[in-house]
């Protein structure tokens, strides 16, 4: 029942409140395997220097580590060139870079920016800022009752006025996989660029930016085994080339005069200041680990877990599930509510059994409003989770109503 991956994750050996830690909040952040922890430690123990700045061996080595990681990310995403891979701090910063550099430059009054109702706040708020500053309109793609983006909705909302379509490939609340190919096809037919938020996708299945033909794609390392503080922006070279810098200062310049500056070529143009080289090396080690496990394996494990968990949840009369009608279009994310009990109480009660889930609005207020709920509970799996973890969740859920004096 248990799988051997668990052994690679020191934190999963811990007990919580005297119980085995059952970590089901992978949508928020994943745990880190020893190989990633060691890579970061080794960087600081053996290779630390400021890359691109020194002519001495350590700096050269740090530069090499940093640029090798960029090459690894390029391959991982199937991008054409390393100049198309920009390191950031997280998905949020990548999206802000796009909003402030691309959005503020190329959006004009009357233009439309299309996003979906299932976006994380990080793919909503920056576009609201652009729309307000530029007199553009923010249009929403609404999902149907099952949480699915339909062809009709895509056809209806993406029009000749649309200049940017920014959508998540997987909803962090519902785990539903959106039809990115259709969105790209429609958006390109009207001349819009497509930005894909892959924070919840890249960790869970193989993504090929050229096969998808997306213009930009963003993700965070920490949701795919890497340390916090490192993220990625992929962009097609010809688009990144025509965008102005987002942050400016050291490392992003070619030459600086008293009154003017010429900017460095890609990717340095978008990487101002000293970067998180240790974190980037951690991301590189995380990609190695994920590739060793293999995406077909990861997908299969997560699929088995939701096919095991959801029927069990269906049997609990006090559970309401969201976005669980079609399990074929879903990653390992389950949103639910317990009748009469607020998600925060559910989460606290499960915590006493060592079960860690997320409760709240999941940084998706507009989706919560649209679903007509105040908050939900969310269990999200990764490949190191097991059926035993699901059993622990189901058992703990059975106790929740009783703790607050309700009948089961």
């Amino acid at each position: 029942m248990s799988n051997h991956y668990v052994n690679d994750f020191p934190i999963l050996q811990k007990t919580m409140n005297g119980k085995r830690l059952v970590y089901l909040d992978n949508g928020a952040t994943t745990q880190k395997p020893l190989s990633v922890i060691n890579a970061v430690q080794e960087y600081y123990a053996a290779f630390n220097a400021n890359p691109h700045r020194g002519a001495y061996e350590l700096s050269v080595k740090a530069t090499q580590i940093y640029e090798d990681a960029r090459e690894k990310v390029r391959k991982f995403l199937g991008a054409e060139k390393t100049s198309e891979i920009i390191f950031t701090k997280n998905a949020t910063e990548s999206l802000n870079l796009l909003a402030y550099s691309y959005g503020m430059t190329f959006i004009n009054p009357g233009d439309e920016i299309v996003i979906s109702i299932a976006e994380h706040h990080s793919n909503i708020v920056p576009w609201q800022q652009v729309a307000k500053a530029k007199g553009a309109t923010l249009q929403y793609l609404y999902v149907n009752e099952a949480g699915i983006l339909t062809d009709e909705e895509i056809e209806k909302k993406i029009s000749s006025k649309t200049k940017i379509v920014a959508v998540t490939q997987v909803s962090n609340v519902l785990g539903i996989i959106n039809p990115i190919e259709k969105i790209v096809h429609k958006a390109h037919s009207v001349g819009a660029v497509v930005i894909v938020d892959d924070a919840q996708s890249v960790p869970h299945f193989s993504v090929d930016v050229r096969a998808l033909d997306v213009d930009f794609l963003v993700f965070s390392g920490h949701k795919m085994l890497a340390p916090m503080g490192v993220g990625v922006l992929y962009g097609k070279e010809h688009l990144l080339d025509k965008m102005p810098p987002f942050l400016s200062g050291g490392d992003m310049i070619e030459y600086v005069w008293e009154q003017d500056t010429s900017f460095a070529p890609l990717p340095a143009k978008f990487e101002a200041g000293t970067q998180n080289v240790g974190g980037v090396l951690g991301l590189s080690a995380a990609i190695d680990y994920i590739e060793k496990v293999g995406f077909s394996n990861i997908e299969q494990i997560e699929e088995e877990l939701i096919h095991y968990a959801i029927p069990k949840l269906w049997q609990l009369p006090f559970i309401t599930l969201y976005g669980c009608d079609d399990l074929s279009k879903k990653t390992g994310v389950i949103s639910f509510n317990v009748k009469d009990i607020h998600p925060h109480d559910v989460s606290s009660i499960l915590d006493a059994d060592g079960v860690a889930i997320r409760a709240g609005h999941h940084c998706a207020h507009p989706l919560m409003q649209y679903l007509g709920v105040n908050a939900t509970c969310r269990a999200s799996f990764y490949f190191y989770n097991t059926r035993e973890d699901v059993d622990a969740l189901i058992n703990a859920l059975g106790r929740v109503r009783g703790v607050l004096g309700y009948e089961s």
Binding site: N17, I341, H342, P343, H344, D345, S348, I349, D351, A352, A359, G360, H361, M368, N374, A375, V403, L404, G405, Y406
Partner: protein, 154 residues
Amino acid sequence: MNLSEIYTEIIAEHNKSKRNKKQLENPTVILKGRNPSCGDEIELALKVEKNIIQDASFTGVGCAISQASTSMMIDLIRGQTIEKAQLLIDTFLGMIKREITEEDQLEILDEAVALQNISNMPARVKCAVLSWHTLESAITTEEGKTSESSQSSH
């Protein structure tokens, strides 16, 4: 953390009870309190006459801790003077911050002492204090009104 220390019978009872959860007739002050991070939102209504909280009630959504804390607070302040309400607020917040631990000092909180252990659950402290902070703002608003009206009568 021991669950039964937090989710006591008193909390469960107040959470379910609708006694104080309703619209108030002719309130003199209504104030919203929110925990943006968890989406808890209550609306506290007071009817203050001659410095006395004649009646109070609340509406809104939230977890058992915030709902129970609000309900217990309303039981405590109904019929009390503004000054007594302020003392209750100070004592409750002092208890949560563990600044007030003496039993005889906490006595005035009556059933609300059941929330003393919430400080063992840092993630939930804000749920317990939401209504008390809201009450404090409501009192300030109410006092502002009286001082305004007394000023205008000059």
